[in-house]
Subunit: 341 residues, 2 copies
C-alpha cells in the first residue's frame, strides 16, 4: 500500500511548491519598484512594516492608519501653474459669456487677451477673484460634469498630454503599498475639494469622500422641475492650506493622521500635526530638484523660488529638526511618470 503512489502525486507536489514559491515571491517583491534604495525609500518601508507588526512597539491598529497626501507637487506636477488654476482660466470665457459686463473688467480682460506672460504675472488677489467667479454659481452636478470634460481634454504644454498622466509613479506605489497594509489614504489639498473629487478615484484610487480640500459653501434649493439641487456659493468655508490643513483634517476625518506627505510650506502644519505627538508619525517632503525629468525649484537648495510649491530654507531646517525625510526627485526616484521607461 505504501508504494502505491497516486499518478498525479508528483504533479500535486510540484503545483503546491509552485504556489508556495509564488506566494513567497509576492511577499518578497519590492513594494516600491520605482524608488532607488536609500533613506527615503527605507523611511516609508520601515514605517509601514513597524506600524503593521502587532509585536512592534510602533504598532498602529487598522482603524487609526490614516495617511494624508498633499496633491499639487506631491502626487502630480504643479508647475508652471496649479492644474486647477488652468481650469479656472479656461472657464473665464464661459463666465464672461454669461456676464458680459466682465469683458472689459480686470482681471478678466487680461485673461481673455490670452497674453500668457501677463496672465502669469496676475497678483494673488486677481487670481482669487477669477477662482471665485469660475468655481461658483453652478450646481454641484454641472460643476462635476464640466471638470470631467475639461480634465479629459486639457493638455500640459511641456509634455502635450493630459494632466492626469503627470502623476508621480513612485507616489502611486506608496499609495498602493500603504492601502495594501490597511492604511486609509486621503488627499489633503489646498486645491478645491469639489475639483479634485471628480478624478481622485480614477487617478489615485482615492474615493471622493477621502479628499479634503479648500471648501466652499453650497446652497440647497429646487430647480424648475421641483427637484433638489445644490448650488456652489462664492463663500469660503475653509482654506485648506497651512494651518487650514490640520483644521480640514479634523473637520472631515476627525482623526490625527500617522503619516503625511507634502512638498511645500503649505504642508508644514499638516506634517507637524502628524508627527509631533506621542506614538509613531511619518513626515515626508518631495523636493523638486530634477530639471531634466520634471522641474527644479525651491530656495532651500539655492534653486529658483516660484509662485507655486515653495520649499523654503526654514521648512528644510524644520524637516531636519523633526526627523522628516526629504525625498530627492532626482536621486530617490528611478522613474518619475508612469510613461517613463
Amino acid at each position: 500500500m505504501r508504494r502505491r503512489i497516486h499518478p498525479f502525486g508528483k504533479l500535486v507536489v510540484l503545483i503546491a511548491f509552485g504556489v508556495a514559491s509564488t506566494a513567497a515571491a509576492v511577499r518578497a517583491a519590492d513594494p516600491l519598484p520605482s524608488w532607488n534604495d536609500g533613506a527615503a525609500k527605507s523611511a516609508v518601508v520601515d514605517f509601514v512594516r513597524s506600524t503593521t507588526d502587532a509585536q512592534s512597539p510602533k504598532f498602529v491598529p487598522p482603524e487609526k492608519r490614516i495617511a494624508t497626501f498633499d496633491q499639487d507637487g506631491t502626487l502630480w506636477v504643479e508647475h508652471p501653474m496649479y492644474t486647477q488654476v488652468v481650469f479656472c482660466l479656461d472657464r473665464v470665457p464661459a463666465v464672461v459669456a454669461k456676464k458680459p459686463e466682465l469683458r472689459e473688467r480686470e482681471p478678466f480682460k487680461t485673461v481673455l487677451s490670452g497674453d500668457r506672460e501677463a496672465i502669469a504675472k496676475l497678483p494673488l488677489k486677481d487670481l482669487e477673484e477669477i477662482l471665485g467667479a469660475t468655481l461658483s454659481g453652478m450646481t454641484v452636478d454641472e460643476f462635476q460634469s464640466e471638470v470631467r470634460t475639461w480634465i479629459k481634454t486639457a493638455r500640459h504644454h511641456r509634455w502635450d498630454c493630459p494632466y492626469t498622466d503627470l502623476v508621480y509613479q513612485p507616489m502611486l506605489e506608496v499609495l498602493r503599498f500603504m492601502r495594501a497594509n490597511g492604511f486609509k489614504t486621503y488627499i489633503v489639498t489646498g486645491g478645491g475639494q469639489d475639483f479634485v473629487r471628480v478624478y481622485s478615484e480614477q487617478v489615485y484610487g482615492i474615493p471622493p469622500e477621502q479628499v479634503v480640500g479648500t471648501m466652499g459653501g453650497t446652497e440647497y434649493s429646487y430647480n424648475a422641475e421641483g427637484n433638489p439641487i445644490l448650488t456652489k456659493e462664492p463663500k469660503l468655508l475653509l482654506n485648506d492650506n497651512f494651518a487650514g490643513k490640520p483644521e480640514g483634517i479634523h473637520l472631515v476625518i476627525g482623526r490625527r493622521p500617522v503619516a503625511a506627505f507634502g512638498n511645500s510650506t503649505g504642508d508644514r502644519q499638516m506634517l507637524e500635526y502628524t508627527t509631533m505627538h506621542d506614538g509613531p508619525g511619518l513626515g515626508m517632503l518631495v523636493f523638486h530638484d530634477d530639471a531634466v525629468r520634471e522641474y527644479a525649484y525651491g530656495p532651500a537648495q539655492g534653486l529658483p523660488d516660484t509662485k507655486v510649491g515653495t520649499f523654503t530654507q526654514s521648512l528644510y531646517d524644520e524637516a531636519a529638526k523633526r526627523g522628516w525625510t526629504v525625498i530627492s526627485m532626482k536621486s530617490d526616484w528611478k522613474r518619475v511618470f508612469p510613461f517613463d521607461k
Copy 2:
C-alpha cells in the same frame, strides 16, 4: 472497488451536508429579527436586495452605496431632551468655574439653579448661548476626553441607564444589514459632529470619519511644550439640520446618498436629496407612537408636539407624496431597545 467505501465516508458526507445547511440557514436568516413583517420591513429588505443584485435595473455599484442616518430620534432616544444638550447643561458648572462672571448672568444662572422646569423652558436663543459656551474654548483632545467620561457616567432619568444603552435595536439591525451588503453607513446629525464622533464607533459601529454633524471651526496653534493643538472655536461652519443636511453631506461625503433615515422636519431635505433624482432612493421616517415602550409625540397623528423631533402634518403628507415609508415604532418594531426581551 465501487463497494470500498472509506470508513469516514459517511462522516464526510454528513459534515458537508451540515456545512451546506448551515450556510443555507445563514442565507435564509432574517436580517431584521426585531422587525414585525409589514411595509416598513419590506421596504428596507427589498431595497437592499434590488440595489445589490447585478441583474436588477435598480443595481447600485458598491462605491455608490451610501446610506445616511439621522441620530436623535432615529438611532436613539431624543426625549425629553437631546443627549448633547444634557451634556452641555452638565458642563455649565465647569465653564462658570473658569469664568465666574457668568454665575449671575442668564441663562447660566437658571441652569445652575437646577430648576428642571425652568431649564426645560429656556428659549432656543438661550440654549444656543449655552451650547456655544460649553462646546468651545478647549482643545479637541480635551473635548474628546470630557465627552468620553461623561457618556460613560451620565444616565437617562426614565430608564436609569447610560444614554448609549438607549439605541434602537431594530435600527442597529438595519445598520448591520446594510453594511453586510456593501453600504457605507453615515450618521448625519443636527448634533455636534465632534460630540457624536467620540462614541459612534462603539455604539453604532460607525467610525468618526463617517459622522457628519453640525460643525464648528478649530484653530491650529502650539501648546506650552511647543506641540500642535487644535482649539474648538465658537464659530459655526455649518448647521447640519434642514437644508444643512444635504449641504453637510456634500461637504464631507461628496456623493448623493441612495438611502436616508430620519424622524423629523430636520431630515426632510436629506430625504428629498436622497430620493428625488433618477435611480433608486430609499426614504424612511421613524414615527414615535409608542408611549409604553418609548414616547408618543408628533402632531402628524394628533400626538403632542414637543421641542424635539417634530413630525409635522406637512412632513407626513410629503412622505406619502414621495413614497417615503413611515415606520411605526409601536407596530413595526418587536423590540425597541437591545435590553428588551
